[in-house]
């Protein structure tokens, strides 16, 4: 059978450096950091006291208050990013065959704060459970895709993928395959996370994943720099409208790019540490190129996972060199986590948007805070240090790896 082609026709973003796609992109291009002291709770006793938070958001401008209070922040973020993506796609929801529109969302954790608050409340009582009836539905990760479907009446395939920081890329790849097979005409994909909470910061501090550069939050996320000391926790959401090419054409939609392939693998190695030689990353990138039916030399830009952890960053570059050979030094590499922080399950969503906007603007957003080269990293890589670089961009790869050893890679290409 012939596979259907899949294109991207709408984008929505709610990020630490911009609450919509135009602001997000202009700050990416300008190299703006979204990090600052934590405002969501008193972090004075935590090893890490900063994060990349969402700023200036009034949820009730987007969601009626009585509905909003039944949802965790990660679901608020999901709905707000989806609203923008739907508007951007210019779809008339009423005229769509909504039984053929799916929602496949990603979240690494789900409603962490809802869980935390309810259990703290319980622990303060005398042991009698007075659990709020909305507790479970606020907390479970799939409530995001459920709420999106209810808001728009999308009755196709609906679920949430959970593979830690690879979650959204898994969601994108699943939707790609359903549309290719003709099972869906359109699918809302994306991811959201809201883990800047006591449990989130405390938990990632405990496994030594976070930067502790409290004296300089905005320079703390520094992928590939010798002084990197862990990732900076971010929060927010990204949403993409994936659509069958002919369906998009028939309604005269604006097409950002074609989603040409996805690759997945598992490290089968360690629950938090990546494989030292980047084996899982290599296999997933190879799988993605094969799925897309392209040669490594076609890739112009890789938006890397590059979280700014001491061991994670070099292994990804090793895998890139192993797969791309000398082409590794011709393509651009950047980690936009240097600006957004690490949005965990939503990382793949906001980074896919960065990759697609890079094609649109023929501009590679930078890796900021790159100050001191690390001798462990080959100096021939073009890490797009500190300043965006204009270049011809046809094909981009976006990488995501998660605790548990999950690897998921997506490839977008300018429509030809």
């Amino acid at each position: 059978m012939t596979f259907k082609r899949v294109v991207v026709t709408g984008l929505g973003a709610l990020t630490p450096i911009g609450n919509d796609v135009p602001t997000y992109w202009s700050n990416l291009a300008a190299g703006v950091s979204g990090a600052g002291p934590i405002t969501k709770f008193d972090a004075s006793k935590f090893r890490t006291q900063f994060a990349c938070e969402i700023k200036g958001l009034d949820v009730t401008q987007h969601i009626p208050r009585q509905d909003a209070r039944k949802m965790d922040a990660f679901t608020h973020y999901a709905l707000i990013a989806t609203d923008e993506a739907i508007r951007d796609a210019g779809v008339d929801v009423e005229t769509l065959d909504r039984n053929k529109v799916g929602v496949i969302w990603g979240s690494g954790i789900g409603g962490l704060k809802s869980f935390e608050d309810e259990m703290i409340d319980y622990a303060r009582g005398d042991g009698t459970p007075r659990i709020n009836p909305f507790f479970i539905v606020r907390m479970i990760a799939d409530s995001a895709s459920g709420q999106i479907s209810m808001r728009y009446g999308f009755r196709g395939t609906n679920y949430v993928t959970v593979s830690a920081c690879a979650s959204t890329n898994n969601a994108i790849i699943d939707a790609l395959n359903y549309i290719r097979l003709g099972r869906l005409k359109m699918c809302v994909v994306g991811g959201s996370e809201a883990a800047v909470t006591r449990a989130g910061i405390g938990g990632f501090n405990a496994n030594r994943a976070l930067s502790e550069r409290n004296d300089s939050p905005e320079t703390a996320s520094r992928p590939y720099d010798k002084g990197r000391d862990g990732f900076v926790l971010g929060e927010g959401a990204g949403a993409l409208i994936l659509e069958e090419y002919e369906h998009a054409q028939a309604r005269g939609a604006k097409i950002y790019a074609e989603l040409i392939g996805g690759g997945m693998s598992s490290d089968a190695y360690h629950i938090t540490a990546p494989h030292p030689e980047g084996l899982g990353a290599f296999l997933a990138m190879q799988d993605a190129l094969e799925d897309a039916g392209i040669e490594p030399s076609s890739i112009d830009y890789i938006n890397t996972h590059g979280t700014s952890t001491p061991i994670g960053d070099p292994q990804e570059l090793k895998a890139i060199y192993q797969l791309f050979g000398d082409h590794s030094f011709k393509l651009n590499i950047s980690s936009t986590k240097s600006m957004t922080g690490h949005l965990l399950g939503a990382a793949g969503a906001v980074e896919a948007i960065a990759a697609i906007k890079a094609i649109e603007h023929q501009l590679v957003p930078p890796t900021i805070n790159y100050v001191t080269p690390d001798e462990e990293i080959d100096s021939r890589f073009n890490l797009t240090a500190n300043t965006a670089q204009a270049r011809s961009i046809t094909t981009v790869m976006s990488n995501a790896f998660g605790f548990g050893g999950h690897n998921a890679i997506v490839i977008f290409r300018k429509l030809s």
Binding site: R65, Q66, D67, P133, F134, V137
Partner: protein, 79 residues
């Protein structure tokens, strides 16, 4: 209106996002005020919390309108 009745009204307005004028004694939580079964459970819990009064499940099931809630609470509070 009694202090209890006013507090009950406030809770209903806050939780269900309805106008105070809709919260009449005859108003049914589910039929008139747009509550679903989970909203109703939450309302009862809020009454329990506000008035520090445990409401047994078999009693809670009977509290279907604003008036029945006020009546129940006025009868049981302070005893």
């Amino acid at each position: 209106m009694s202090e209890i009745a006013q507090k009950v009204k406030n809770i209903i307005v806050e939780k269900l996002g309805v106008e105070e004028s809709e919260v009449t004694p005859e108003a049914s939580f589910t039929n008139d005020l747009g509550a679903d079964s989970l909203d109703t459970v939450e309302l009862i819990m809020e009454f329990e919390k506000e008035f520090n009064l445990p409401i047994p499940d078999d009693e809670a099931e009977k509290i279907a309108t604003v008036g029945l809630a006020i009546e129940y609470l006025e009868k049981h509070i302070g005893k």
